[in-house]
């Protein structure tokens, strides 16, 4: 399969078969064709996306290449990668009912399906919320519920836990397990994090350059690692002791409308340390970064930054902080670069050969590396990162982690918002949990408190022991 105008095949001679009721996990580096494969199965390619396709893809014997995606909708449900981009109504209940209404089902059945899907996705309390006001994780759950309400026989999920907090991810995996075992649904899940998927006993396809290059049925984290999935077994590195305070919050309160988000939060960011910020969706993690950066003004309390301290922030969505027409100019916004410096920057960001490429045409991983490189170019004293690991393969995650360690060694204070609890445990010196309660302290102390408070999904041990 070739996308229009591309010389490189997006999919190459993929020949696979999925039995009814099976679970398949697809993994592989960014840009290897995972999402493309899902789109082909959902009938979006070549119906909605122009592409040259050879061969055939069948769903219950029906050729999906020739079918209108709408006719496949009752058989196959596809949850796309970006939840924000697939919500098409303005209220949660309407969004979840959108599909069943299009199927012309009786109103009573629509209501029943909507209630069941919202319950399964853990969003029963959000029924009357306006969709634009939801957090990223809440939108992800709405997107999943809206597909569950269609009651399809085959569920295709493209990185469904990317925006979910650990509790939400656990809930989703429990739901998927129930759908597979009790209702015989067939599952196809694209995931970089394979260990939590082990409970589904999946067959794992590893893709590379448009091909399925390996199959396996791993039953342990070690077997996952052998497949090249994302697991964390890094050698511990030397950590500098925390230095002077470079930014602080004192009794900070932030509200969005009538909804309080930060409640009297106090903390200090010190040079040479990484603060991990974890917690449930909508708990105020991004708001905290915005308050430190001066982008959000608190209703009460004080945010202090050391005089002259440079603050750099890497946003959750890289496209929002890309401005120029090519990579070279993007790197030079903060001042012209000599040929040698440019070459070093490009090499460091693994963007060699892409200096004349349009930044917005880069892959998600490349965009992420570009935005982090441009932020680091200013040598920030305070470095803020909002979910930098979302939709990143292992190589990119390792690249980001290495840059954060370098920033810490360089004396920067780093605040990292992430749902990747094991990564936070591995990397961060202190952890701030923002949820129903607030915990702040050394990583091991906070995880111990969270475990004691019944918040196991927010502890690294939970994700390391899932079977």
């Amino acid at each position: 399969m070739y996308y229009e105008g591309r010389q490189r095949a997006a999919l190459r001679a993929v020949t696979e078969r999925i039995e009814p009721g099976a679970a398949v996990a697809i993994t592989g580096p960014s840009g290897c064709g995972k999402t493309t494969l899902c789109r082909v199965l959902a009938g979006f390619i070549p119906s909605l996306v122009t592409a040259a396709v050879d061969g055939d893809a069948r769903l219950d014997g029906l050729s999906v290449l020739a079918a209108d995606p709408a006719t496949l909708a009752a058989r196959l449900g596809f949850v796309q990668q970006d939840p924000e981009a697939q919500i098409c109504t303005l209220r949660v209940r309407q969004e979840v009912g959108f599909g069943p209404q299009n199927l012309c089902l009786p109103r009573g059945e629509v209501e029943q399906r909507v209630d069941a899907a919202m319950e399964a996705a853990g969003i029963a309390g959000l029924a009357d919320r306006d969709t634009p006001t939801l957090s990223g994780g809440e939108k992800q759950r709405v997107a999943i519920a809206s597909i569950l309400a269609m009651n399809p026989g085959v569920l295709v999920l493209d990185e469904p836990t990317a925006n979910l907090d650990p509790r939400g991810a656990k809930q989703l995996f429990d739901t998927l397990r129930g759908l597979q075992r009790e209702r015989g649904r067939t599952l196809l899940v694209v995931e970089h994090r394979l260990v939590p998927l082990l409970s589904l006993a999946p067959c794992v396809w590893r893709m590379d350059a448009g091909e399925v290059v390996a199959h396996a049925s791993p039953r342990s984290a070690c077997e996952v690692e052998a497949l090249g999935g994302r697991t964390r077994h890094r050698e511990p590195t030397e950590r500098p002791g925390p230095g002077r305070v470079v930014a602080s919050l004192e009794d900070v309160w932030v509200d969005y409308g009538e909804r309080p988000v930060l409640h009297g939060l106090s903390l200090q960011l010190r040079r040479g340390e990484i603060l991990g910020v974890i917690g449930p969706n909508g708990g105020g993690k991004t708001t905290l970064l915005r308050a430190i950066a001066g982008l959000t003004s608190p209703r009460a309390g004080r945010v202090w930054r050391a005089p002259g301290a440079r603050v750099g922030m890497v946003f959750q969505h890289p496209h929002q902080q890309i401005f120029e027409r090519d990579v070279r100019r993007e790197l030079e916004i903060d001042g012209a670069l000599g040929a040698e410096d440019l070459a070093v920057l490009l090499r460091d960001a693994r963007l060699v050969g892409l200096e004349d490429a349009a930044p917005l045409s880069l892959s998600q991983g490349e965009k992420r590396r570009l935005t982090l490189a441009t932020t680091l170019r200013c040598s920030p004293d305070v470095l803020l990162l909002d979910e930098p690991f979302i939709a990143q393969d292992r190589r990119n995650v390792e690249w980001v982690v290495e840059r954060l360690r370098q920033a810490r060694h360089g004396g920067a204070a780093v605040a990292l918002v992430t749902h990747d609890v094991p990564e936070a445990a591995d990397l961060c010196d202190r952890i701030l949990y923002l949820g129903e309660e607030t915990f702040l302290g050394r990583a091991e102390d906070v995880f111990s408190e969270l475990s004691g408070a019944g918040n196991e999904p927010f502890t690294p041990g939970y994700w390391g022991t899932v079977r």
Partner: protein
């Protein structure tokens, strides 16, 4: 699927039918009345109704700020371009009473139309409006375009805010002074937003098709009745606006 709106403030307790009638009343004032006073009063009433309907006064006015500026520009341009009549000032640009009246007419007409449209968009639930259109016989594929268009409004607003925040974090200052600065501002502000918009259009098309949108010529309608008591009350208010136009014309209001 629709939640009851009876406990909601102001115009929100009425449905799209009432809102459409009220919009028609305001548009009638804006287009049919020659009274500047009536049109100005109608524009103020629209803002007041927004406030009564739970809209933040500051937010409402903030959204209307460019509209007021544009109305002021219309007034100035019209006042300067009409040359008929006696000059009011012996020096400077030729400003006449006819020019001022014409400018006030145009500016207040523009204000009524925009403030009432703003009010309509603020208080009308697009999903219910689309449902009303479907019940009125409009094919749901077309009726839903309205919902989609409105779905994009907060998206673009949020993307724009995020891009501006990103500019602040990079120390990028945008300006519209001079062609070069304007081009840079457009590139740095609108291109990222547009790029996000194009990406969203593709994804939303897939999302809708992937949920059987367009599979049948009909879809399950929303819950709730087409016209409620509150709609009748709002309809009477709209009729009152239309009556005001007739009264003002007969009474010769300025």
């Amino acid at each position: 699927m629709t939640t009851s709106g009876t406990s909601q403030p102001g115009l929100r307790c009425a449905g799209p039918v009432g809102h459409l009638l009220l919009l028609a009343g305001f548009l009638w004032v804006g287009l049919a009345s020659s009274s500047v006073v009536l049109k100005a009063a109608a524009a103020i009433a629209a803002v007041g109704m927004g406030r009564l309907s739970g809209e933040s006064f500051r937010g409402f006015l903030h959204g209307l700020r460019p509209v007021v500026v544009f109305a002021g520009l219309l007034f100035v341009a019209q006042a300067l371009s009409v040359r008929e009549g006696v000059r009011l000032l012996p020096f400077g640009p030729a400003i006449t009473a006819a020019g001022l009246v014409s400018g006030a007419q145009m500016a207040t007409r523009f204000l009524v139309i925009v403030t009432s449209s703003f009010l309509f968009v603020s208080v009308t639930d697009p999903d219910r409006l689309a449902d009303c259109c479907v019940r009125a016989g409009v094919p749901y594929r077309y009726a839903f375009l309205l919902v989609l268009a409105l779905r994009f409004v907060p998206f673009f607003r949020r993307e724009l805010a995020a891009v501006r925040d990103a500019q602040r974090m990079r120390g990028i200052r945008t300006s519209v002074r001079g062609v070069r600065a304007l081009r840079r501002t457009i590139r740095y502000t609108f291109l990222p937003v547009l790029a996000a918009g194009f990406g969203k259009v593709d994804a939303i098309t897939m999302s809708m098709k992937g949920r059987a949108f367009g599979l049948y010529s009909r879809r399950t309608p929303e819950k709730g009745c087409l016209v409620r008591g509150a709609d009748l009350a709002v309809g009477i208010a709209a009729a009152g606006l239309a009556a005001c136009v007739v009264f003002a014309e007969r009474a010769g209001w300025p």
